[in-house]
C-alpha cells in the first residue's frame, strides 16, 4: 500500500490544474498524463472536465485511446468529472457518431443533458456516505446518467423540476464519475474518496 499515491490527470484539455490542486489538498501526488509512458507510471487517473468531443478527438490523435482502454481493462482506478464521466461511460447518447470513449463504467450517459450554457447551474446535493453536510455541485453543460447496469452504485441523484431523480454520481468498483465539477468548489470530499479508492487498490 502506498502512503501517498501518484494520481495522473489526463492532460489533453480542460480544467487539469483544478483537479491537481484538489488532489494535492487531500494528500496525493499528481502527474500529467499525455503519453502511454506517463500513463504507465500512475496509480490512478483523473479525467478532468472539458469538452468531451475535443477530448475524445485528441485522445485518438495522440494515440492514447487504446492505452487508456487497456489501462481501464487492467483495473486502473479512474475518476471522471463531467467530460470525464462521458469518457468513462460504456455508452453515450446524443454524441457525435465518431465520439470514442475509454469505457469501464457500465452506464449510459447523455451528453449535455440539461441544455445549453444558460441552463448550467449549481445546487446542493446529498452524496451517499458523505454525511449530512450537503455537497455544492456545479453543473456546466453537464451530462447525466440515463441508466446503470447492475454492479454500479448510485451515489447521488438530483431532484429538481422535470429532472427529478436524475443520477449524477456513480461508482463501480474502482471507477468513480460525477456529472458535476467538485474541483471548482474547494469541497474535496469526492477527491478524498477517489484517493481512498486508489490507496485500497494499490
Amino acid at each position: 500500500m502506498t502512503a501517498s499515491p501518484l494520481i495522473g490527470v489526463l492532460a489533453l484539455q480542460g480544467d487539469i490544474k483544478e483537479h491537481e490542486l484538489a488532489l494535492t489538498a487531500v494528500g496525493a501526488r499528481t502527474a500529467r498524463v499525455r503519453t502511454e509512458a506517463e500513463l504507465a507510471q500512475v496509480d490512478g487517473l483523473v479525467i478532468p472536465g472539458g469538452e468531451s468531443t475535443t477530448m475524445s478527438n485528441l485522445a485518438i490523435r495522440m494515440n492514447l485511446i487504446d492505452p487508456l482502454r487497456a489501462a481501464s481493462k487492467a483495473g486502473l482506478p479512474m475518476y471522471g468529472s463531467c467530460a470525464g464521466m462521458i469518457m468513462l461511460a460504456a455508452h453515450v447518447t446524443d454524441a457525435r457518431p465518431d465520439q470514442q470513449t475509454i469505457g469501464g463504467l457500465d452506464v449510459t450517459v447523455r451528453r449535455n443533458a440539461f441544455g445549453r450554457q444558460v441552463d448550467s447551474f449549481e445546487i446542493d446535493l446529498d452524496i451517499s456516505g458523505f454525511g449530512p453536510e450537503p455537497f455544492r455541485a456545479v453543473f456546466i453543460r453537464a451530462p447525466l446518467v440515463e441508466s446503470v447496469d447492475s454492479g454500479v452504485e448510485v451515489l447521488s441523484t438530483l431532484q429538481r423540476g422535470g429532472a427529478a431523480g436524475t443520477i449524477v454520481a456513480v461508482r463501480q468498483g474502482v471507477r468513480l464519475a460525477t456529472s458535476f465539477h467538485p474541483e471548482l468548489t474547494g469541497d474535496t470530499r469526492i477527491h478524498e474518496l477517489f484517493v481512498e479508492i486508489v490507496r485500497q487498490h494499490s
Binding site: L12, G50, T53, L58, V118, P134, V138, L158, T185
Partner: protein, 298 residues
Amino acid sequence: MADQEAVTGTSRVKRGMADMLKGGVIMDVVNAEQAKIAEDAGAVAVMALERVPADIRAQGGVARMSDPDMIDEIINSVSVPVMAKARIGHFAEAQILQSLGVDYIDESEVLTPADYANHIDKSLFTVPFVCGATNLGEALRRLTEGAAMIRSKGEAGTGDVSNAVTHMRRIRGDIARLTSMSPDELYVAAKELQASFDLVAEVARLGRLPVVLFTAGGIATPADAAMMMQLGADGVFVGSGIFKSGDPVRRAQAIVQATLNFDNPDVVAKVSRGLGDAMVGINVADIPVAHRLEDRGW
C-alpha cells in the same frame, strides 16, 4: 435531504465554463461547413460570425452581430460550445444572443463599437461573456462589469502576432508587479490601474487573474499558438488565421496540436510541415492608428 435549489448564471458557473475550454483552440467560423471542419480538427468551441476579421478589415463598413439564422445553423451543426460576438456596449445584441442560446458572448472590438463610453453590464446576463484586454487595468474593469473570461486583444485580422505578444506580456507583467508589492502599495496600484481595490488585492494574492486568460488577435501559425501558450495563455482564439489560409483543414489540426503540445518543439515542428500558404498578413505597423482594433474598448 439537502435543499435542492438550482441557481443559474452564478459566477462559478460562468467562470467554470471557461475553465473547461482551457488548453483548447476556439476558431472563428462563418458557416456550418467551417464549424464542422473546426470541430473535426479538435476545436474546443467555435465563434460564429458573419465575416472573419480579415474580411471586416478589407471590406470596411459597420460590423455587427451575425444573423440569428446563421448562428442557429452553426449551433445545430456542432456539439462543441458556440460563441458569438456582440458590439461593445450593445446590450440588445447581447440579449438576442442569449435568447438564441449561444454558450458564450464575446463583447468584441472586432465589431464596430455601439457605445464609446460604456461596456455592456454583463452581470445582468445568465450567459457568460469574454472580453478583450490590452493590460491588467482593462481586464479588471471588464471583470467588474461581469466578464467571466479575458482574452488578450492582439490585432485581429492581421496575421501579425506582435500585438498579441505585447498584450499578453503586459497583462502578465502587470500581475507580476502586483505580487511583489506590499499591501499598502496596492491602494495606489488600484488607483493607477483604474480598477477595484478588492480585485487588485485578489490578483496580487493569486498571482494570476481570477478567470481564464486566452490569447487572440493575429495568431496564424502553429508556432504562434505555441509561443502564446508559453507566454502564459490558457488557450487560443484563432480568427482569420485558419479559413483565410491555403489549407484550413490541416492548419486547424496543426494549431490544435501545437496548442496541446506547446512545450514540445518536436511536435510543433512536425505539425508545421506542409500547411500551404498562411493567411496573407498585414503588419500592424502599417495600419493607420485610427483603424487599429486594439484601441476599441476602454
